[in-house]
C-alpha cells in the first residue's frame, strides 16, 4: 500500500556534511510553502505576509532587538530539550520548568532583599535553575528508577505548574493594583541590566549564549556527554559499557530542567519584572521544534532558535498589519517540525532504484 515499488531505502553509512546544513534550510523553505496555503485560504497574500513577517522581525534596529528578546528564552528551551533528547529523556516539560523558574525568581524578587545587584541577580539565576531542575527531576527520577513514561509525566506537569502559578497569582501574590492577575514588581536590584541601549535586550541573552557553550562542551568534551550520547543511542549497550544509565538520566533531567528554568528567570527579571500567568506563549513547546530543527546539534539549536524568534516576533507584526491570526506562528512551527522529521528519513537513508 505504501512501500515504494521500484525504490528501496538504504541506510547511509555517514551522512555527508552538506546534508546537515542543507536539510534544515530546505525544511524551513518547504514548511513556509505549506504554511502559505493556509494564508491563501483565508484570502491573504502569502508573499506579502512573509514579507511583513521577515521585515517585522529584521527590518530595522528595533525589530532586530525585539527578535533577540524572543530568542533569549528560545535558545534556553531549545538547549534544554536538545540535551534531554540526546539521552532520550523525553522532556516535553520545558514549558512547566520555565514557569517553575519564573515562580522561584519572582519569589526571591518580591522579597525585596537589601542586596546589591551583583549578589541579587546571581541568586535569582540560581533559584530559577534549581526550581526548574527540581520540577524536571521528578519526571527524570520516575523514568529512571520506576519506568514511568516521561512523555506523559513531563507533559502533565506543565499543566500542574501553570495551575500552581495561576493559583498563587490569584491568591497570596495578587497585586491589588492590577486588573489582570499579576504579582507585585520584583526588587529593582534583581532586574537584569539592559545590554543594548533603547531596547529590551537584557543580560539574559548572555545566559543563553553561555548555555550554548555549555552544551557544546558538555556533549563534545566531557565524560558525562559521552554517557548521555551512549544512553540515548542504546541504553542496554551503554549499561554493558559500565555506564550508570539511571544516574545519567537523572543528571540530564536536572540539567535540562534547570536550563529551562533559566528561561523563566529571564522573562521575569529581564522582560516583565513581575510574574503573570501568560509569561510564556509556549516557549517550552517551541524548544522541542528548535531542538529537532537544529538536529540536536549545538550550532543547529542556536540557528533554529534565532529562526523561530524571527517567526514568533515577525508573526506579531504580520498579525497586526494584515489581520492574520497570530496562531499562524504555531502552524509554521508544527509544519516545520513535521517537514524536518520527514526529511530526516533522507538523512538516514538514501533511496536506491531497484532493478
Amino acid at each position: 500500500m505504501i512501500s515504494l515499488p521500484k525504490f528501496k531505502l538504504e541506510k547511509r553509512e555517514t551522512p555527508p556534511f552538506w546534508f546537515q546544513v542543507l536539510m534544515p534550510l530546505l525544511a524551513v523553505v518547504i514548511a513556509l510553502a505549506i504554511s502559505a496555503i493556509f494564508l491563501a485560504i483565508i484570502g491573504k497574500n502569502p508573499f506579502l505576509a512573509f514579507y511583513n513577517m521577515f521585515m517585522g522581525a529584521l527590518g530595522n534596529k528595533f525589530a532586530i532587538t525585539e527578535t533577540l528578546v524572543k530568542a533569549t528564552p528560545l535558545i534556553l528551551t531549545g538547549v534544554a530539550v536538545a540535551i534531554a533528547f540526546k539521552a532520550k529523556y523525553w522532556n516535553i516539560g520545558a514549558e512547566g520548568q520555565l514557569y517553575a523558574g519564573a515562580l522561584a525568581a519572582t519569589w526571591l524578587g518580591i522579597m525585596h532583599l537589601p542586596l546589591p545587584a551583583v549578589i541579587y541577580i546571581p541568586l535569582e539565576i540560581a533559584v530559577g535553575f534549581i526550581a526548574g531542575a527540581l520540577w524536571s527531576l521528578i519526571a527524570g527520577y520516575l523514568k529512571a528508577k520506576m519506568q514511568v513514561d516521561d512523555v506523559v509525566t513531563t507533559l502533565l506537569m506543565n499543566f500542574i505548574m501553570i495551575y500552581i502559578v495561576q493559583a498563587i497569582l490569584n491568591g497570596p501574590w495578587r497585586n491589588p493594583k492590577t486588573m489582570y492577575p499579576s504579582s507585585v514588581p520584583i526588587a529593582k536590584n534583581a532586574n537584569f541590566p539592559k545590554i543594548i541601549p533603547n531596547s529590551r535586550v537584557h543580560a539574559g541573552i548572555l545566559l543563553s549564549i553561555l548555555a550554548i557553550f555549555f552544551m557544546y562542551f558538555l556533549i563534545r568534551k566531557t565524560k558525562l556527554g559521552f554517557e548521555i550520547k551512549a544512553t540515548g543511542a542504546n541504553p542496554k549497550a551503554a549499561h554493558f559499557l559500565g555506564i550508570n544509565t539511571v544516574k545519567t538520566i537523572i543528571i540530564v533531567s536536572i540539567i535540562s530542567g534547570g536550563i529551562a528554568g533559566l528561561a523563566g528567570v529571564g522573562e521575569v527579571c529581564g522582560v516583565h519584572y513581575h510574574l503573570i500567568s501568560g509569561i510564556s506563549p509556549g516557549y517550552g513547546y517551541s524548544g522541542i521544534v528548535i531542538a529537532m530543527l537544529g538536529g540536536l546539534n549545538t550550532i543547529g539549536v542556536l540557528l533554529a532558535a534565532l529562526y523561530f524568534a524571527v517567526v514568533i516576533n515577525g508573526a506579531q507584526i504580520m498579525s497586526v498589519n494584515m489581520h492574520i491570526p497570530i496562531f499562524i506562528s504555531d502552524v509554521i512551527q508544527g509544519i516545520t517540525l513535521l517537514v524536518m522529521l520527514a526529511m530526516l528519513l533522507f538523512f538516514e537513508y538514501r533511496i536506491r532504484r531497484v532493478k
Binding site: 514511568v148 502533565l156 499543566f159 495551575y163 508544527g334 517540525l337
Partner: protein, 311 residues
Amino acid sequence: MSIAAVSSFVIWFISATIRMATPLVLATIGETFAERAGILNLGIEGTMLMGALTGFLVTYFTKSLWLGVLMAAVVGLLFGLLMAFFAVTLGVNQHVSGLGITIFATGLAYYTYRAVIGSPTVPPSIKAFSTLKIPLLWKIPVLGPIFFNQYALTYIAFLLVPLSSYVIFKTTFGLSLRAVGENPESADAVGINVYKIRYISMIIAGTLMGVAGSFFTLCEFNMFLYNIVGGRGWVAIALVIFANWMPWKVLGGALFFGGIDVLGLRLQSSAIKIPYQIYLMLPYLFTIIVLILVARNASYPAALLKPYRRE
C-alpha cells in the same frame, strides 16, 4: 442534609461522572487501537482540539449537530492518516511526529477559529445536544436518571467499550492488529499486511479522537473556548497504560477521572476558600500517581514505537 438531598446529590454526581468520562472513553479507546498496532499517537491532544473546532464550526453554520459530529470524525480521521503517514509510511520517530501533529493541529484550530469567527467579546454559541431520554427506562428510580438520561454520544462511547473489546479479541482483524503490535515480522511472515492494519488502526484512532473532541463543543459546552480540551488527550495516553491496553479497563479509568473532574467543578463552585486551580490540577496529579502505581506492571505492546520496514 436530608436523605432526599443526599440521594439527589449522589444521582447527580454519578450521572455527571458518566457524562464527563465520555470524551475520555472515546479518546482512550481510540489510542488503544493505535497502540495495539504499535503506534503511540501523541497527536491525540491536537486531533481532539481539531475535532472540537470542526464540530463547533460545522454546527454553527449548518445548525446540524450530527453533521458537526460527522465532520469532526472526518477531520479526526485525516489527522489519524497524517500520523500514520509519519509513523507507518516514513517510519520516523513517533514521539516527535505526534508532538509535531499536536503543535500543528493546535495552532491550526485557533488560527481557523480566529480567521472564521474573529475575536468578538462574547463568543458565539450553538444550541448544544440535549440529553436523550431512553423511553421507559429513564423513569426507573435512581438508575433511570443516572444511566438513561445521557447524551447520545455518551451511549455511543460506552457501547464502544464492549464492541472494541470484541473487535480486538474475537475477530480476525483484532488478531492481526495485536500481531502487528507485538511482532510485525512474524505477522508479515504469515501474510498479514502490516502497513494496511496499522493504517486502519490509525483511521479508527483518529476518528474516535475527533468525535471525542466534538463532545466538548457540542455537549459539554456550547461554544469553542481556548484550551477547551485542556490536556484530556494526555490523560487518555496515561489511561491506556492504566488500562493495560484493555478496553474494559478503560471504563474504570475514565470513570475515575470523570469523577475527579466533577468533584473539581463542584468544589470550585462551593464556598470553600481554596483557589479553584487546585481542583483543576487534580486530574493531572492523579494521572501521574496512577502511572507510578501501574508502571511496573504495564505490558506495553512489544512493537510500540518501532517502525516496520519490509526488507
